[in-house]
């Protein structure tokens, strides 16, 4: 090593003796005309590119966003209070890029890829541009591999496939983030890498999420990109693009990635702020004209690549917060039209105790059903129908008490299905277990179980399956299908279990 270094020095000296030359640096520069609110106006910089990084000196960088006749409008990434009028700004010749790579996994980083978790510097040699054109038609493949969220209501009725973009939309405090976090937790030990992008979120909330993910052992496959509420607006603006660039690295390696943007309404607000400060004309709700393009170009980067192109995928779960359930506001309608479906959460359901508070009627997945395993497809088709019928009947039955037997039965079953679809936070469920319990519900095997004791029954049944007949779960997972033999076996097992827990069943005498 020392020898090598010496050689290098001698070689350099020889060169100097042969031809002594003083080195000077030649840069394209401009001068700050005005600065404020994270935006700078710069004169000069004649050959600057759009989205090029600008060096303001003293470690502060910016991005050129407005290229005008005699000035450049730039947003400042970092502390703009250090910048003075008349400061020299250098163009770097590089568009904005972020470090990517394996060593980001398990870390909390800011949108520039700098560590935020105090676990030391992240040394990455590979950089990806923040803005990138989405994969084209030729390179893509249709979505048909599922992302298991571990949430019964989602996996059965609103299935998500790898490469899909599924919007999670709802008012504040309805459990939007919870769905995303449960999905990330459920990927433990599976082959999906997760990126969680927090845009203008409270840092306390992120600290809680990180702690929960660590507790669940889910940080081992997760990157958290954090632009906190106190971070400069420019960082909030680039956060989802930076997160996407980090995900694209893994997609290019042929891996599957799940990315959560929490949330895009705040991202739109950040972009509005920057646009207005750059004096771009405002449009509806004062958002700039290209706010649709902002989100469409971001979400279009989620894709499932064909085998020939590596076969990787990015599944996106963008989150949108609505105001008082208004999904027809500007940003919600935009993002609904871009995504391949939405999970709609309602505060009414949430307060009724139906958690996750998914409104099954308004939630859809436009590509999902092809991304379900056959066993799930079999139970899910009937489930949706039963839930829809129950909702209609329940609304109707409120007016009258005299109901015929079949209506009563249908209502009772509906109640049980709704109860079964409830699920606690941070307890995602394996798909084979979901199949068994949903199968039991739609086959009417739960009709004589006490509704208030269903939760207990469910936990008991899964324990029973795991300990006495684990081959059933294994068979579902391997075959991914329920044939007649297996069906009979499942029914038999559930009946056997029922006979052991008679205290959970509805008393026959009480019914009469």
């Amino acid at each position: 090593m020392v020898q090598k270094k010496d050689d290098y020095v001698i070689e350099a000296l020889k060169k100097q003796i042969n031809e002594f030359k003083e080195h000077v640096s030649v840069d394209t520069v401009g001068r700050v005309l005005e600065v404020g609110d994270g935006i700078a106006k710069i004169s000069g910089l004649s050959n600057v590119m759009y989205s090029e990084m600008l060096d303001f000196g003293s470690g502060v960088f910016g991005v050129a966003l407005n290229l005008e006749e005699d000035a450049v409008g730039a947003m400042i990434l970092g502390d703009w209070l250090k910048i003075k009028e008349g400061d020299v700004v250098k163009s770097t010749g590089r568009v904005l890029e972020v470090p990517v790579g394996e060593n980001l996994i398990g870390r909390v980083v800011n949108p520039l890829g700098e560590a935020m978790d105090g676990k030391g510097k992240i040394d990455s040699k590979i950089f990806y541009p923040v803005e990138k054109i989405a994969p084209g038609v030729i390179t893509r493949k249709s979505v048909n591999v599922p992302v298991q969220t571990g949430i019964k209501a989602v996996d059965s009725m609103i299935p998500i496939g790898r490469g899909q973009r599924e919007l999670i939309i709802g008012d504040r405090q309805t459990g939007k983030t919870a769905i995303a976090i449960d999905t990330i937790i459920n990927q433990k030990g599976k082959d999906l890498i997760c990126v969680y992008v927090a845009i203008a979120q409270k840092e306390s909330k992120i600290a809680k999420i990180v702690a929960k993910l660590e507790e669940a052992g889910a940080m081992d496959h997760t990157i958290i990109v954090l632009a906190g509420a106190s971070a400069p607006t420019s960082l909030n603006y680039i956060a989802p693009f930076a997160g996407c660039a980090m995900a694209e690295y893994f997609m290019d390696k042929g891996k599957d990635v799940l990315i959560v943007y929490d949330d895009l309404s705040k991202h739109a607000v950040a972009y509005r702020e920057i646009s207005l400060l750059l004096r771009r004309p405002p449009g509806r709700e004062a958002y700039p004209g290209d706010v649709f393009y902002l989100h469409s170009r971001l979400l279009e980067r989620s894709a499932r690549l064909d085998k020939e192109y590596g076969g990787g995928s990015i599944t996106a779960l963008p989150i949108i917060e609505t105001q008082a359930g208004d999904i027809s506001a500007y940003i919600p309608t935009n993002v609904i039209s871009i995504t391949d479906g939405q999970i709609f959460l309602e505060s009414d359901l949430f307060y009724q105790g139906i958690r996750p508070a998914i409104n099954v009627g308004l939630s859809v997945s436009r590509v999902g059903s092809s991304a379900q395993i056959k066993a799930m497809k079999k139970v899910a088709g009937k489930l949706r129908l039963e839930v829809a019928q129950y909702r209609e009947l329940a609304a109707f039955a409120q007016f009258g008490s005299d109901l015929d037997e079949s209506t009563k039965n249908q209502l009772e079953r509906g109640k049980r299905i709704v109860e079964i679809l409830k699920q606690g936070q941070y307890v995602p469920m394996a798909v084979e277990k979901q199949v068994v319990i949903l199968f039991a519900a739609i086959k009417g095997l739960l009709d004589n179980v006490d509704v208030s004791k269903l939760n207990e029954f469910e936990i008991g049944l899964h324990n029973y399956l795991e300990t006495t007949v684990p081959e059933i779960l294994k068979e579902i997972l391997e075959k991914k299908e329920i044939d007649e033999m297996l069906e009979a076996k499942i029914i038999k097992t559930i009946n056997e279990y029922k006979s052991t827990v008679e205290e959970l069943l509805v008393k026959a005498e009480a019914d009469v």
Binding site: E22, H23, V24, S25, V26, D27, T28, V29, G30, G44, L45, S46, N47, E68, E69, D70, V88, K90
Partner: protein, 180 residues
């Protein structure tokens, strides 16, 4: 951006008129003087830009202040600015005018930063050297900047040629950082 383009028109008109009547230097000198006086006296500036004060009164105030020290053309230009509500842009108009004037004479202004004032011979040498590369006549403007420690830093429009000690140290710093 229409704001700057109108200012540009004023500046161009000023330069062209000055060259036609061969009074550019005097005109600009007058205006620079007026500009600094107005900026020093905020009360006066407020009065001149107040919308409630009539044009004639402003005219009188100007005449009283500057009397015969400035030429008629300067007065006319100032009246025009007051009438168009552009008096606040006077500094930027003068800046652009200076640039346009140099361009119209095919001259290029180069700013040279150094720690100690350059001698005439040194300036001439720099001009010779630079005019070889950009093939245009140059005038140099020497700026004293002790921060660069030593050497020269030259600004050729948008291009910065950094041969200062400070620049060298910074480059070395970056090299060491990158090596790690």
């Amino acid at each position: 951006m229409s704001q700057t383009s109108t200012i540009k028109h004023y500046a161009t008109a000023l330069v062209e008129l000055g060259i036609e009547n061969q009074c550019y230097e005097a005109l600009v000198a007058d205006l620079v003087d007026v500009d600094s006086k107005i900026n020093e006296n905020l009360e006066f500036k407020k009065y001149l830009t107040d919308k409630h004060v009539t044009f004639t009164k402003k005219q009188e105030a100007l005449k009283n202040t500057f009397q015969d020290f400035i030429s008629d053309k300067t007065y006319n230009f100032l009246y025009l600015l007051i009438k168009d509500g552009k008096l606040l842009d006077l500094s930027s108009i003068l800046k652009i005018a200076a640039k346009t004037h140099l361009e119209s004479q095919d001259l290029f202004e180069v700013m040279v930063e150094s720690v100690i004032p350059l001698t005439v011979a040194q300036e001439k040498k720099i001009q010779e050297k630079l005019s070889q590369t950009i093939k245009q006549k140059l005038i140099t403007k020497n700026i004293i900047n002790p921060e660069i420690i030593g050497g020269l830093k030259i600004f050729l429009g948008d291009t910065e040629i950094d041969g200062s000690i400070r620049g060298k140290i910074l480059r070395l710093k970056k090299k060491i950082e990158d090596y790690e």
